[in-house]
Symmetry: C2
Amino acid sequence: MLKTEITLEEMVPILKLLGDRTRLTIFSLLRTKQACVCELVEALEMSQPSISQHLRKLRDAKLVKEERRGQWIYYSINEETTHYLLVEHVLKFVPDQPDLIEKMKQAKGC
Amino acid sequence: MLKTEITLEEMVPILKLLGDRTRLTIFSLLRTKQACVCELVEALEMSQPSISQHLRKLRDAKLVKEERRGQWIYYSINEETTHYLLVEHVLKFVPDQPDLIEKMKQAKGC
DNA sequence: TGCTTATATAAGCACTTAATTATATAGTTG
DNA sequence: CAACTATATAATTAAGTGCTTATATAAGCA
């Protein structure tokens, strides 16, 4: 159920989550395709726990969703979240990161 | 000079500034009318230094501009800033705060 | 079953941030 | 000029955040 109405109090945590370089980059990548944790680790060149912790925050806020497929857990943007409209409008400004997308695709072993 | 192009790195600090309850409320109020510091202090029921420090951050990022008029310094949204387009799109979602606007108008002594 | 891989979680730490209190600056008014 | 008002700045502190290291969980495979 998408809402056009959103309170200031509801906006703040969403903007706070988007106002982080790592998380905004994750969004930029997930816009291209869903990704498992190890692909994001490769692309962002960050530790696995660090990526996982960012994903947890995004998941807790229902901004992304996860789907386990075997050993892998695929994350994708949750377009069904209540305030996706705000997220969408912000994401419109986020440029693609072709270099990172490339690195993500070359992620081996996962 | 407004830009449609904005890098991820440029977006992050803007979203970080907007992802704060006090600052987002200030924006909501400034959208209605420019305001001096003491009006914002009244409306938000926060200390003057706290409000001033938030305004400084917004000014440093060029998201608001100031204009001294006698003892008072009036703040307003800087619509000429480079990345106002992003700000504008976010602000579209921020609801008006009629109660705070009322309190702001009743600010005495300034 | 035991080993490996993918991911999550927990604990600790460094850094940042937002508030408070105190003080400084600048304009106004007597 | 002195007193007052509006605002800014500085120093301190408490809380929050993001990273690292270490460990736990869970799935796949020999």
